[in-house]
């Protein structure tokens, strides 16, 4: 009997071109996604080296970080943003790369459109100049966030030089309570394992809670792997993934579909496949989770207080003190009831149709509290169309939410959507770093989209289970 193997090992071997002289692996990249922020310099380097794009049909581009969400009309009001957009359009044209721009009807956040177009498939290697590329691991792809020099490497060679990380299996057992979402699962995992716990590891998420998740929920979990330090996070492909992919624009069809499903099945981790570390987390113990600090590991259950200094290990105390000072919170203070100024629903973490449905279910129960600014930003044009067809935009508007056009919006504020001053934002995005949402002193509380909607209605952090 051959010994059981993990998907990770099998994908690595299948894509390995050779071992490099420095001991790294030259890995073939099956899907390369490109956006306007991290690619212009890569194309310029390519030009400088007098190189072309080796597999232009394996690279797809879209525009997401800089695009305004009030109007996508050209030219963009921000000259710098317009310049970046023009550069991407020119680079795609010159190198025969498919660009999903606003006119295509398929524009959106790069990690939303890859899956929804069927570009991301099981057992692929995926790379993109964006740390949230781990999202695509939800299909059982091995997906790497890369820097601009590596974008150049992929454009020129369709390969990356990579050191193989170790594998940690994270099993989430049991089941989730009502009002607890995929976002809570990943925030809880990061809280348990820390923001640097995953450095040097690929994460394989498994167990009954993960297996019971829809594809979109799995995308949320894998998306934030990097917030736990793991560059790669994946879930073994199963019927949920195959059902999601069937019939999508770039998914295989006819006989090729059957061949594909057979291959995808054969690539999943086999029972008993070895891993370097195993962590088990009880699904029942995961509460709706909210961050109170300046990195995604600083979080608490919505009904728990912010820790006291005595609860914090010595080594973490300086970071704890820095976080509370920046946030203006006291040790031991409850997180529920914290007043918010802004509610942001969207991003590559939580900007998909199911996220909007869950948030709309909450929005339907009331009106946005006085003085709360809101942004509901669909992850893509396709998500926007679907939401509008279901009338979700009307639900949000009727409750007083601002319904926007697709883009990264206030997740990172490279566009006009920004916090002002010391505003506190309830956000369905992925990072609560200092200044992340556009104001150097702005404060971010990460939570699930349903929790953001609940916070918007009450004007303060609220346990969504009280509203539903």
């Amino acid at each position: 009997m051959p010994s059981p193997r993990s998907l990770f090992d099998k994908v690595w071997e299948t894509h390995s071109v050779r071992e490099l002289p420095d001991g790294q692996t030259q890995l073939f990249i099956g899907l390369h996604l490109v956006h306007e922020v991290t690619s212009p310099q890569a194309f310029a380097m390519l030009e400088e080296m007098k190189l072309g794009v080796r597999y232009p049909q394996r690279t797809f581009a879209t525009i997401d970080h800089i695009i305004p969400t009030d109007s996508q009309l050209r030219p963009l009001a921000d000259d710098l943003a317009e310049e970046m957009m023009v550069a991407l359009e020119r680079n795609c044209r010159e190198h025969d790369i498919t660009l999903f721009d606003s006119a295509s009807g398929r524009q959106g956040v790069v990690h939303v459109i890859g899956p929804e177009l069927g570009l991301t498939q099981p057992a692929m290697t995926v790379a993109c100049g964006d740390s949230h590329t781990s999202t695509h691991g939800a299909f059982g792809a091995i997906a790497f966030g890369i820097g601009t020099s590596q974008v150049r490497d992929v454009l020129a060679t369709q390969c990356l030089a990579m050191e193989k990380p170790k594998l940690r299996r994270i099993e989430v057992s049991g089941k989730l309570e009502g009002g607890v979402y995929a976002k809570d699962v990943i925030l809880h995992i990061i809280r348990q394992l820390g923001v640097k716990g995953g450095v040097g590891f690929a994460y394989e998420y498994a167990g009954p809670v993960i297996e019971a998740m829809t594809m979109e929920e799995r995308l949320t979990v894998c998306n934030m792997s990097i917030e736990g330090g793991a560059r790669v996070g994946y879930i073994n492909p199963d019927e949920v993934a195959f059902d999601y992919l069937r019939g999508r624009e770039y998914a295989p069809t006819g006989e090729a579909w059957d061949t594909a499903v057979d291959w995808w099945r054969s690539m999943a981790s086999e029972p008993g496949a070895p891993c370097d570390d195993l962590v088990t987390i009880a699904g029942e113990n995961i509460p709706p989770t909210v961050t109170w600090g300046i990195h995604p590991g600083q979080s608490a259950g919505v009904n728990e207080p912010i820790p006291n200094l005595s609860d914090v290990p010595d080594a973490d105390r300086p970071a704890f003190a820095e976080a509370l000072e920046f946030m203006g919170f006291r040790p031991g203070q409850p997180i529920a009831g914290t007043k918010i100024d802004v509610a942001f629903i969207g991003s590559c973490t939580n900007g998909r149709i199911s996220d909007l449905r869950e948030a709309a279910r909450v929005a339907k129960t009331g009106k946005v509290a006085d003085g709360v600014r809101t942004l509901v930003v669909p992850g893509s044009q396709s998500v926007a169309r679907e939401a509008e067809a279901e009338g979700l935009d009307q639900v949000f508007r009727a409750a007083g939410f601002d319904w926007r056009e697709p883009g990264c919006s206030m997740c990172l504020a490279m566009n006009p959507d920004k916090l002002q001053g010391r505003e506190v934002s309830a956000s369905s995005s992925n990072r609560n770093f200092k200044g992340r949402q556009g104001s150097p002193t702005g404060r971010t509380l990460l939570m699930s989209p349903a929790m953001v909607a609940a916070a918007a209605l009450r004007g303060e952090v609220t346990d969504v289970r009280e509203v539903l």
Binding site: T14, I66, E83, P252
Partner: protein, 200 residues
């Protein structure tokens, strides 16, 4: 061929704190650009603004330093290469810390900038020593795998692959990857989805 990086020698700057993310190193608004030129002056801009001159990058005693000494998990968060690009343009040629986020470290290697790690006690001793005497010479030696300062020589951690790439001048990976030639296409042809799953 990229240049060979065997050692970085110069004065050091101490930046304490853990989990310093790339949004802090270079805030997103400065990513609205199509070249990396000019990023140096915006390194840590918001942190420096808030520190009102009391930030290590504005401390005259550290001016001209070529080695940045940091804490744990430095460079976590976004994959933006703009972060090491801005620090390089500010003047840093090497990073010494307790640990580094993976994408940041990879981006540094791709620019020929070594990231080396020290044991916690050694790092603390180095930070204290440089803070007391910022004029001292610090040497990061990749050949010997150590760091030398006033207090002596400390063993330095560096990934084997990274070290080799820097020592052999192969850290600009594109040329190395291209050397695989046709074997890239040969490998690709064996991957079922690249071959279209047998579809005509």
């Amino acid at each position: 061929m990229a240049s060979i990086v065997e050692r970085v020698e110069g004065r050091a700057c101490v930046l304490r704190g853990s989990d310093i993310d790339t949004d802090r190193i270079i805030p997103a608004r400065f990513l609205r650009c199509v070249t990396f030129d000019g990023l140096g002056e915006h390194a840590f801009e918001d942190d420096r603004e808030q520190a009102k001159g009391d930030h290590p990058l504005d401390d005259e005693r550290f001016a001209g330093a070529s080695i940045l000494v940091v804490g744990e998990n430095f460079g976590c968060g976004s994959s933006r290469e703009h972060a090491p690009q801005s620090l390089q343009r500010f003047g840093f040629q090497a990073f010494v810390g307790a640990s580094f986020a993976e994408i940041f470290a990879g981006n540094c290697t791709a620019l020929g900038l070594p990231c080396i790690t020290l044991e916690p006690n050694d790092l603390e001793a180095l930070m204290d020593s440089v803070t007391l005497d910022p004029s001292q010479q610090v040497v990061v030696d990749l050949v010997a795998r150590n760091l030398t300062y006033k207090g002596g020589s400390l063993p330095a951690g560096v990934r084997d692959g990274t070290r080799k790439a820097l020592l052999e001048g192969t850290w600009n990976a594109t040329r190395v990857l291209l050397e695989a030639g046709d074997s890239i296409d040969t490998r690709a042809a064996t991957i079922p989805y690249v071959a279209g799953f047998g579809a005509a």
